[in-house]
């Protein structure tokens, strides 16, 4: 049963990790817009004007 000395702190530590992660996400406002967040991942405006994938295939064709 000596293994408990490690197991219990690890279990509680993992729980605390989850708790702190939740607190952080709450504080950084991640629950403020639950509907919009799902759509934001589809928004490409943070990429360069023309998608780089297309460019590279065009470049390889030219070679």
């Amino acid at each position: 049963m000596d293994v408990l000395i490690f197991l219990i702190p690890i279990a509680i530590g993992l729980g605390l990790l989850g708790l702190f992660a939740f607190m952080w996400s709450l504080k950084s406002g991640q629950y403020e817009d639950l509907e919009g967040a799902g759509w934001r991942i589809l928004d490409d405006s943070d990429l360069p004007e023309r998608p780089p994938v297309v460019k590279s295939t065009e470049a390889s064709k030219a070679e």
């Binding site: 509680i12 729980g15 817009d33 919009g36 759509w39």
Partner: protein, 749 residues
């Protein structure tokens, strides 16, 4: 007032890093595509550091550097993108609600963490107790549980402890008092049992209980916050601003919170007066229907008092802002409102009444258990104490505390979808008890916009020409005429004579639209039309070489008013009309609607007197009204509803606001509330039955932590499921949800 001369910067608030922040309610956001259009479009503007659309609340948060761009430029860009923005008045917003929701969520997450980790240890102990756990290991597990439970309860229990302390401080009891006693008692007992290395400790039950209760409370809070955010968006659409005249003579549109007594405000024709004040110069007619209920126009000149919420029909006015002017209508309304609100706060909520009956019984039975075991058996005081506290644990009002909030959450969600925004949860149970419905007439039974009478008798060509001319008018009757004809293209050159009418040259002929006098109508013809339509307002149209035509308008009843009244009667409710309007107009409306009990020309005091009389006769009254003169009555009635077009004061005094042009939400609110009350009573009985079974087991001393945990979660789940049952077969929604028809993009859930 165009967007360019509105002082948008007055709505912005400076931030610590030198940039400026502004929140806007945006009309027309419907999907994710709008979100990226707006964000990308605004992000390209130089100086804009952040533009973020919240798709849930349909609001836009903006940050920009003040030197590089201005609020006006941003709003113009937004308009080019196809979205109309409405600013929030920064002086009116409060961050308190947000903070409270976040605190509940934090408490809930801590309780959830504690419950999971303690359960991990408890399950091991339960399994060990059945097999071969040794005493030192069990004690170690209990001590670790205690170390987790104490800080978790100290942190997560605060919302309950605070509320219980507040109630006890004024010698009252609420549901949080037995919860606090139960939680603290269980924790103390478990510590005591752990110290004497007993087999059972209840750390798991008490933390889980907190977690359940906090979840219920968070959901309740969240629902109310969501309705409030929609109400705020709707309020932002009805501009809360005034056109202030600066000392140098220029005019800027500023939020109401930046207008103070003594300021000079400009009120253009066709606009609502946004402040209370005294007319400095200018003459005009004022439509006070929203304030007094009277539909006849009142002439005002220098020195006359005007109220916020009234409509300026005629000419340009300069108004000197007054603080609550003593002896005026507003002052009277405020005094009445205060006393009415005080009387209402005496109402005992169902949950608190249940708690009042429940706490003494439970605490007495726990005390008797202690006495009984201690004196009648050979067990010691410590053992008897343990059994007594276990009675407290098993009866800890988990189910009882969820029984009513769970129903309230489900019900306010259903009402929200039907376009009814509740201000308070206990309005549901008060709605269910109603046996008399009292309506205000103007703006409540009737639509705020006037309606054209005897349309078929009018030459369609004439009507269309008048409609085109009316499109150029800002007078409410002119607007109504333009709406009727669906005219789009107004004539190019229009001259306006303030307070009288407009004139334009069309195809070489002079056409006029305005007061009968302005168009040269024979006074006898006017009298004849007025004899046919009592209380109608008239507009005349005249073209050179043709006889002038009169159009008669009246405040039209809401489309479904008659149907709603009939359904209310079918539900067994008495219906009454109390109005500030003239006798004849009220009598006619009452006759059309089939209501026999009505009273006219009532002031705010008379309305309250009538409500008091009804109350004294033992009736529970639902008041439906919108005007300033209704506000005290709305606060004094057992429960009250108000349409979204109502003045601010009335909306704040009412228990709920309904959206849309229909009256059907009144019936929906009543039927949904009745079903909700039935579910609440069922839930309370479920809790009672649970206690009837559980208490004898506890008194007999057979409660183990496993039984406590099972019984408590079982009863909580049962009452929650019973509440959710309300949604199945949602039943009477009162036709199509009016929200979608009126406020596109705002009231969707």
């Amino acid at each position: 007032m165009t967007e360019t001369d509105r002082d948008w910067d007055a709505f912005a608030t400076p931030k610590a890093d030198g940039s400026v922040h502004m929140d806007l309610a945006v009309e027309g956001i419907t999907c994710a595509a709008c979100m990226s259009t707006i964000e990308r479009g605004l992000g390209r503007l130089p100086g804009v550091t952040e533009a973020r659309v919240n798709l849930t609340t349909r609001r836009l948060a903006l940050d920009w550097k003040p030197g590089e761009t201005g609020a006006g430029a941003i709003v113009r860009r937004l308009e080019r993108l196809g979205y109309r923005a409405h600013p929030f008045d920064p002086g009116r917003r409060s961050a308190e609600e947000e903070a409270e929701a976040k605190e509940l969520l934090r408490c809930m997450s801590v309780a959830g963490f504690g419950a999971m980790n303690i359960m991990l240890l408890s399950v091991s102990v339960w399994a060990g107790n059945a097999s071969d756990i040794d005493a030192p290991t069990r004690d170690l597990f209990h001590w670790i549980s205690a170390l987790i439970a104490i800080p978790v309860i100290a942190y997560s229990g605060r919302p309950f402890f605070r509320s219980a302390a507040r109630a006890l401080a004024v010698f009252r009891t609420n549901m949080d008092v037995p919860i606090t006693i139960g939680v603290v008692g269980t924790l103390a007992l478990s510590l005591f049992e752990t110290m004497r290395s007993a087999e059972h400790a209840f750390f798991d039950s008490v933390v889980m209980l907190l977690f359940f209760l906090l979840t219920g409370r968070f959901l309740d809070h969240n629902m109310r916050r969501r309705t409030r955010s929609v109400a705020e968006n709707v309020a932002a659409l009805r501009v809360d601003s005034a056109a202030r005249i600066l000392p140098d003579g220029s005019v800027r549109e500023v939020p109401l919170s930046k207008v103070s007594a003594g300021d000079l405000v400009l009120v253009s024709p066709g606009e609502r007066v946004s402040v209370d004040g005294v007319v400095e110069d200018g003459t005009s007619d004022i439509d006070q229907s929203l304030v007094t209920g009277e539909t006849t126009l009142v002439s005002v000149g220098p020195g006359a008092v005007v109220y916020a919420g009234t409509l300026n029909v005629g000419g340009l006015l300069r108004v000197r802002v007054t603080a609550a002017a003593e002896g005026t209508l507003l002052d009277e309304v405020n005094t009445l409102l205060e006393s009415a609100a005080q009387a209402k706060s005496k109402y005992m909520r169902l949950a608190d009444r249940a708690a009042g009956a429940y706490a003494p019984i439970v605490h007495a039975s726990a005390f008797l258990t202690l006495l009984g075991w201690w004196t009648l058996s050979d067990r010691g005081f410590a053992d008897s104490m343990v059994i007594a506290v276990s009675v407290l644990i098993i009866t800890c009002p988990c189910a009882l505390a969820l029984a009513i909030p769970a129903v309230q959450v489900v019900t306010s969600g259903m009402l929200f979808k039907a376009g009814i925004l509740l201000h308070s949860g206990d309005a549901i149970e008060r709605l269910a008890a109603v046996d008399t419905v009292v309506f205000d007439k103007t703006g409540t039974l009737t639509l705020p916009e006037p309606r054209l009478l005897d349309r078929d008798a009018i030459d369609p060509d004439r009507l269309e020409r008048a409609g085109r001319l009316a499109r150029a008018s800002r007078h409410p009757l002119g607007r109504a005429l333009a709406e009727v004809t669906r005219a789009v293209a107004p004539p190019v050159e229009v001259r306006e004579e303030p307070g009288r009418g407009i004139e334009a040259t069309i195809d070489g002929r002079i056409e006029r639209l305005g007061s009968p006098d302005f168009c040269g109508v024979d006074p006898e013809a006017v009298a004849a039309v007025l004899a046919r339509f009592r209380g109608a307002s008239l507009v005349a149209h005249r073209a050179e070489g043709e006889a002038p035509v009169l159009f008669a308008f009246e405040q039209g009843l809401r489309r479904d008013a008659r149907e709603v009244i009939d359904r209310l009667k079918a539900l067994g409710l008495a219906v009454e009309i109390l109005s500030g309007d003239r006798e004849a107009a009220v009598a006619e409306a009452a006759a059309t609607l089939g209501v026999s009990a009505f009273a006219a020309q009532l002031g705010p005091t008379d309305k309250i007197a009538r409500l008091e009389a009804l109350k004294a006769a033992g009736h529970k009254v639902l008041m439906v009204g919108d005007g300033l003169n209704d506000a005290p009555a709305l606060a004094a009635a057992h429960v009250s509803l108000s349409p979204v077009t109502a003045v601010h004061l009335s909306q704040a005094a009412a228990d709920a606001v309904f959206l849309g042009d229909r009256l059907a939400p009144v019936v929906t609110a009543l039927t949904v509330a009745r079903r909700a009350r039935a579910a609440m009573i069922q839930n309370l009985w479920l809790s009672v039955i649970y206690n009837v079974i559980a208490v004898p087991v506890a008194v007999a001393g057979y409660v183990t932590p496993l039984i406590a945990a099972l019984a408590m979660s079982g009863s909580s789940v049962l009452v929650t499921l019973n509440a959710l049952r309300l949604r199945i077969g949602g039943g009477d929604r009162g036709g199509e949800p009016p929200s979608a028809a009126v406020e596109p993009g705002f009231a969707r859930s």
